[in-house]
């Protein structure tokens, strides 16, 4: 028997022991066996603990400690054998004072022998005083939800699958100004990180977690996934037109990446799904820049003239993320998708065709985030509906001005669509550009309608409205 007569019992432990009718001598014997006071307190606090049961447990531990044989109850033995736990490991767990039914539950819950071995070794070291002397371990009592064991599904282990129990609570307002991840427990005194977006309505999209996984899964590599060797020399005017389009797309990609990069640090950590998705969007923009620069410089051509840049300013000057998102992820992305369709349609080889079709996948995710965020915003901020019109009024007007000023891009598109610079080719290119403009404006409006904003059709800027009117009406106008 361990000599515990000299050990002092902490006051709070003594109080619980008294309330439960457990003799203090029994508590001292437990402390002498090396059980931490907090652990004894936790055990005594369990329902159904009696002095008789405690005496039986302590006596058994003292017997084992004195070299007595450890007997594994038959029921536990069967569970251990079924899950291929070595008997020696089970005995070490019992020697540490773990109740047989507790050990059985841990085994059945899926704890692997190697995981258990590490934990048991730590506990044994602590029992011997090796760890207890150097480690505080009070942090292990953090009141977060514990025992989470998410299993992978047919998509693997996804971010959305981690939203279980209290970890699935995504609050409307995130109260913490630090980098603490959602579900962790805050400590006082941590300096704020300077975020400005703490309202879920200001950034949330229900599909953000899935879009993150999609972006990771469907990533592609311009360096090796594009069959660059399929390119052959093109007529000079075609190569120059493509170079001009690539220059424009490079600018748009860089700008979009800057915008996302600027807003990410504003978003608080409570909404990590959005931050994760937008980090992939920033990567997508980098890849778009990369692939169009590579296309411009890999077939005897090069880059062209820079864009006037008015529209760039209209996006980057946004003062709220929802404004930036509606303009960048719905309006501008719809236009980019239209340009990619021009590229896919006029592709001269497999490399160009694949570049634009792979790019569509990336832009498709940007559109999907934009639509779902606007839908969520409108459902939570009904009073701010008119604000969205104002964002788009400004963006569409500046876009129309930019489109008028950006003669190089317009002419490049006409040449690509018409196939050259002869009169009949130019006439064909102009007609086709009109067709493509109708396509992207129609898709833009259908996305806004899907976001719960169908009335935008009536307020569309005149320069865009002409694309959704019947040809006769447009001609009359």
């Amino acid at each position: 028997m361990a000599d515990g007569t000299a050990l002092e019992v902490p006051a709070d432990l003594a109080q619980i022991a008294e309330e439960k009718g457990i003799p203090l001598d029994l508590v001292r014997r437990g402390l002498a066996l090396g059980f931490p006071a907090d652990a004894i307190k936790g055990q005594l606090g369990m329902p159904g603990v009696t002095a008789e049961a405690a005496e039986q447990f302590i006596s058994e531990q003292e017997r084992i400690r004195a070299g007595g044989e450890i007997t594994i109850p038959q029921e536990l033995l069967e569970v251990a054998q079924k899950h291929e736990w070595p008997e020696s490991l089970v005995k070490r767990a019992l020697a540490l004072g773990a109740a047989p039914d507790f050990v059985a539950k841990q085994i059945e819950a899926g704890i692997k022998p190697d995981q258990a071995e590490r934990f048991i070794a730590q506990q044994e070291a602590a029992r011997e005083g090796g760890l207890a002397q150097t480690l505080d371990l009070s942090w292990m009592k953090v009141p977060t939800e514990w025992g989470i064991r998410v299993r992978p599904g047919n998509r693997g282990l996804t971010v959305e699958m981690l939203n279980v129990g209290t970890y699935a609570d995504v609050p409307d307002h995130w109260p913490y100004q630090t980098e603490m991840p959602r579900g962790a427990y805050p400590i006082p005194g941590v300096a704020p990180m300077g975020y400005t977006i703490y309202e879920k309505a200001e950034l949330w999209a229900d599909n953000a977690g899935d879009l993150y996984e999609e972006a990771i899964q469907r990533r592609w590599k311009p360096a090796t996934d594009i069959p660059w060797t399929t390119m052959e020399p093109l007529p000079d005017e075609i190569e120059r037109a493509l170079g001009q389009l690539c220059t424009h797309l490079c600018e748009r990609a860089l700008l979009s990446g800057d915008i996302v990069g600027r807003w990410l640090p504003e978003m608080s950590y409570g909404y990590h799904e959005v931050k994760l998705y937008l980090s992939t969007a920033a990567f997508d923009y980098a890849r778009q820049f990369e692939v169009f620069r590579k296309r411009a410089m890999s077939n005897g051509g090069g880059l062209g003239l820079q864009s006037p840049g008015y529209f760039h300013r209209a996006i980057i000057d946004a003062r709220a993320w929802t404004e930036a998102s509606v303009v960048l992820n719905i309006f501008a992305a719809s236009h980019i998708m239209g340009l990619y369709e021009v590229g896919a349609y006029s592709a001269h080889n497999e490399a160009e065709s694949l570049i634009f079709r792979l790019g569509m996948q990336d832009v498709g995710r940007q559109l999907s985030y934009g639509v779902q965020h606007l839908r969520y915003f409108l459902s939570k901020r009904i009073e701010r509906r008119a604000e969205i019109h104002n964002y788009l009024n400004k963006a569409e007007a500046v876009f129309a001005f930019e489109e008028e000023k950006d003669v190089p891009l317009r002419e490049a598109l006409i040449i690509l669509l018409g196939g050259g610079t002869r009169n009949e080719q130019v006439a064909d290119g102009i007609a086709k550009l009109e067709y493509f403009n109708r396509r992207w404006v129609r898709a833009y409006l259908s996305r806004l309608a899907a976001a719960g904003f169908p009335e935008r059709r009536e307020k569309l800027h005149p320069s865009l409205k002409k694309y959704i009117e019947e040809p006769a009406a447009a001609a009359a106008a």
């Binding site: 998509r155 899964q217 369709e341 896919a344 065709s353 792979l358 396509r439 898709a443 409006l445 899907a450």
Partner: protein, 149 residues
């Protein structure tokens, strides 16, 4: 893409779509593209034939004949007259995969009412988001011996 032809099937039929489904589900190259979650309707209006394809995670989980309404309730549906479906499939067979003028995207652009249609602008964008998966699926028809009605 290999040209190993083992299966014969008639287009359009559930057997034809299932033959392709079997090929892509056994193909590591298909899984390499990444996950795809979408329901896709197939409409061949002049034959009044409608199908529903379910893409789930790394596989095509279901193929079945459907009503026109069911096809239209998918995320989006692909609609072409029979002769154009035939042209696309024959082009894929001849080239081992769609040439530049017969990809789903180029056909979509050239069709005045689109190849990919949806009642919902958000769900329709699945056509863009997963276009390489859908293209891989139809390109795999080069690996079967298609007969036409």
């Amino acid at each position: 893409m290999t040209q190993e032809v083992k299966t014969k099937a008639t287009f359009p039929s559930v057997e034809w779509f299932n033959a392709i489904r079997q090929i892509v589900n056994d193909d590591p190259g298909y899984k390499h593209i990444g996950t795809c979650d979408a329901t896709v309707g197939i409409k061949i209006p002049d034959l009044q034939k409608y199908y529903l394809l379910t893409f789930e995670a790394f596989e095509v989980s279901d193929v079945r004949e459907a009503t026109e309404t069911e096809a239209e309730n998918a995320d989006f549906w692909l609609e072409l007259p029979y002769v154009k479906w035939k042209e696309m499939i024959e082009n894929i067979k001849a080239n081992g995969k769609a040439d530049l003028h017969h990809t789903l995207n180029t056909i979509d652009i050239e069709e005045p009412d689109d190849l990919a249609r949806s009642h919902d602008g958000y769900r329709r964008d699945a056509f863009y988001r997963f276009n390489q998966t859908f293209q891989y699926f139809f390109d795999a028809s080069a690996r079967i011996d298609t007969t036409f009605q």
